[in-house]
């Protein structure tokens, strides 16, 4: 056989709810009204939180913060598909997913305020703390998935990442490993089209990110990341398959980072306001709002209730965080190992002495 095609692949796109809130009822996931409203409320909560975090940072009450504006559907839709027994690995831009999972909001404030206790995930919640070094959470998530598989636990793992993460070696090694061992893991890539100032086309020459899955022998799909139904459907199907031994899936959620990269960034330096405006029209919350309205599930009163509840939750989380006693400096030493080695104990004692004398002086 001289020259011939031996394999073909295709990338599918999935959209269920369009920009005007029209829904493809055939593809619509079977969620009841309460569940759909829950998705809406979670997105509103995520945005309310985001707005507050931004303001707190500007007031000097929070450190650097990475906004999720515009990415609420990708986060809420995917996290909503998880079961409590599943595991979840955020990158660093997924508070929307974390709240759906049940992480106390106070902890995200704490983390970005520079307090490790914000990463002390409560017992019983199977989430990994935020990972800053891009893509490095991926092999770890695969390891958790393989350990669960080895133990016979019928769970799945969800690992989030950005478009920038797809360029890193750990993305490749993690996905390849997952493919080889058919790990029960779902990779959710929030392709918000920017990695700080680097646009997608400078990140990779591949037209979709979904097609990268073909390199690893498992399915990849591109979904409208601003369509909470499409995200939910794709992720819940993938999770189900994973839990049943069907192996990994890569889901590209095509979305857009409407804000700056972080509060330390100024996106106007490197991108045009037109692009941002265009994407504002695809707003994930507005889209679901229109859908709810069409179905008679949304009205002004409901809107106000949702928004005031969200504000209340956020304010009380801020209050909670800001009323905490400061972290104990000795925690630096306490958690390095389970048992403090002798040489580290000596350093700690030196620290206590110096610091004690200092406190007296102050």
């Amino acid at each position: 056989m001289p020259k011939q095609v031996i394999e073909t692949f295709s990338v599918e796109w999935l959209q269920i709810l369009d920009e005007d809130g029209n829904c493809d009822e055939e593809l619509r996931p079977s969620l009841d009204n309460e569940q759909v409203k829950k998705l809406y409320e979670s997105m509103v909560l995520a945005r309310t939180f985001d707005d507050k975090a931004f303001k707190l940072q500007r007031e000097g009450r929070l450190g650097t913060y990475a906004s999720i504006l515009g990415q609420e559907a990708a986060q809420v839709g995917s996290a909503y598909a998880l079961r409590p027994t599943d595991w979840m690995f955020p990158a660093f831009r997924e508070p929307g997913a974390s709240f759906v999972r049940g992480l106390p909001m106070r902890m995200i404030f704490q983390y970005w305020a520079g307090d490790e206790r914000g990463s002390q995930i409560p017992e019983g919640l199977n989430d990994f703390p935020i990972t800053i070094p891009v893509a490095t959470q991926i092999p770890i998530a695969v390891g958790v998935a393989l350990a669960a598989k080895a133990k016979g636990d019928a769970i799945a793992v969800m690992a989030y990442m950005g478009d920038g993460a797809t360029s890193k070696g750990d993305f490749h090694e993690g996905l390849n490993f997952a493919g080889v061992f058919a790990a029960p893991v779902v990779f959710v890539c929030q392709n918000n089209q920017w990695a700080i100032s680097v646009p997608l086309k400078r990140q990779t020459a591949s037209r979709t990110l979904a097609q990268k899955a073909f390199a690893y022998g498992f399915p990849g799909v591109q979904v409208d990341g601003n369509d909470v139904f499409a995200v939910y459907r794709a992720t819940s199907e993938a999770l189900m398959r994973a839990r049943e031994g069907g192996g990994p899936t890569f889901i590209e959620c095509l979305t857009y980072r409407l804000g700056d990269h972080t509060t330390a960034d100024d996106a106007s330096r490197y991108r045009s306001p037109e692009q941002v405006e265009q994407w504002k029209k695809k707003d994930p919350i507005e889209r679901l709002r229109k859908y709810l309205e069409k179905g008679g599930l949304w009205n002004k009163a409901y809107d106000q209730a949702v928004s005031s509840q969200a504000k209340e939750k956020v304010e009380s989380a801020v209050h909670e965080e800001e009323s905490l006693p400061p972290p104990d400096p000795l925690d630096m030493f306490r958690f390095t190992y389970q048992d403090l080695p002798a040489d580290l104990r000596e350093q700690m004692e030196g620290f206590v002495n110096t610091n004690g004398r200092r406190d007296q002086r102050e």
């Binding site: 409560p122 390891g143 350990a147 090694e173 490993f177």
Partner: protein, 325 residues
């Protein structure tokens, strides 16, 4: 009691821990059917099956990262990196995750992981197969570094490493993989982490070393004894955390010390030992502590490696420098 090599002793420790604790598993390149390129995992696939002896893709960063995930989920993974020269690709996972997860999650997660890392020169191995890179790990907080120097030590230390609740880099001196045999009990025993061992007591000088360098150090000590100096020899066993106490007590007694290691001198573990002696036993010193180490150059290919590696002659010269100071 059988006389085993280091390879056999490690194999035995792996087998027994895997029998005892079903959470223990092995992953790495060629660890399965092939039994590891040094045959350290030989026979384990047959006993424990593919789920517990996992041949992996050629993927050092993922081997480390996946093992971290497994450890966090409650297993006790033992990852093999085939040679020390390939561990750099796993540094990000080791430094940014394995060593940090307990601290950053304030104890919610921890990482009982062992990374087995054959290291060191002297076996005429190809390029990148003869380095000694313990410093990278000793300098990295949150992980432990263990280096056995004999078959007995290897078994006991590895068992401790596997049971340790924190990540351990277990560095295996290739040079003595098969060159020594020693009685190794079949029964379970542990050699605790963090405690150096006095291989030989003495009063004339303290010789501090670990891993494969114990052998030339012993040779040097034997020659020195003929010339009237009885050396105290310390085998550190654990490089992180470092057992300063044993070192300091010995130097206070002998007033002279030589540190012997294969790695380059600059910022090697030898430097740390000198610094600790300086801090805690300066006034006891009759002469500067001497370092006998690899040079601050690239470890050469086999034709020149003997010029690079410390040997008994260099140890004796250094000891003489402390005496004739």
């Amino acid at each position: 009691m059988a006389k085993l090599t280091v390879v056999e002793a490690i194999n035995l420790a792996l087998k027994q821990e895997m029998e005892k604790d079903h959470r223990v598993l092995i992953l790495g390149e060629d660890v399965g059917k092939n039994g590891g390129v040094f045959r350290v995992t030989q026979g384990l696939l047959d006993i424990f099956g593919e789920a517990r002896v996992m041949d992996t893709p050629l993927s050092e960063s993922a081997i480390a990262g996946v093992a971290i995930g497994m450890a966090i989920y409650g297993l006790r993974p033992i990852a093999e990196i085939q040679f020390e020269g390939f561990v750099y690709a796993a540094m990000e996972q080791i430094a940014n995750h394995a060593g940090r997860i307990r601290t950053r999650s304030r104890g919610r997660y921890h990482c009982p992981l062992v990374v087995r890392l054959p290291y060191g020169g002297g076996i005429r191995a190809p390029e990148h197969h003869s380095d000694s890179n313990e410093t990278y790990f000793v300098h990295t907080p949150g992980i432990k570094v263990v280096v056995p120097s004999t078959p007995y030590e290897a078994k006991g230390l590895l068992i401790s490493a596997i049971r340790d609740p924190d990540p351990v880099i277990f560095m295996e001196p290739k040079k003595i993989y098969r060159s020594l045999r020693e009685e190794v009990p079949e029964d379970e025993y542990i050699v605790p982490l963090g405690e150096a061992r006095i291989v030989q007591e003495g009063t004339g000088i303290t010789l501090i070393t670990w891993g494969a360098m114990l052998q030339p150090t012993l040779q040097a000590a034997a020659l020195m004894e003929k010339n009237g100096t009885k050396a105290e020899i310390i085998d550190l066993r654990t490089l992180s955390p470092l057992d300063s106490e044993t070192i300091i007590a010995s130097v206070k007694k002998t007033h002279r010390a030589v540190v012997v290691h294969e790695a380059p001198a600059t910022c090697g573990v030898g430097a740390e030992i000198v610094a600790r002696i300086n801090e805690k036993a300066l006034v006891y010193l009759e002469a500067p502590v001497q370092r006998v180490t690899g040079f601050d150059t690239i470890m050469p290919l086999p034709k020149l490696e003997k010029y690079y590696l410390p040997d008994a002659g260099r140890v004796i010269e250094a000891a003489n420098r402390t005496v004739n100071f």
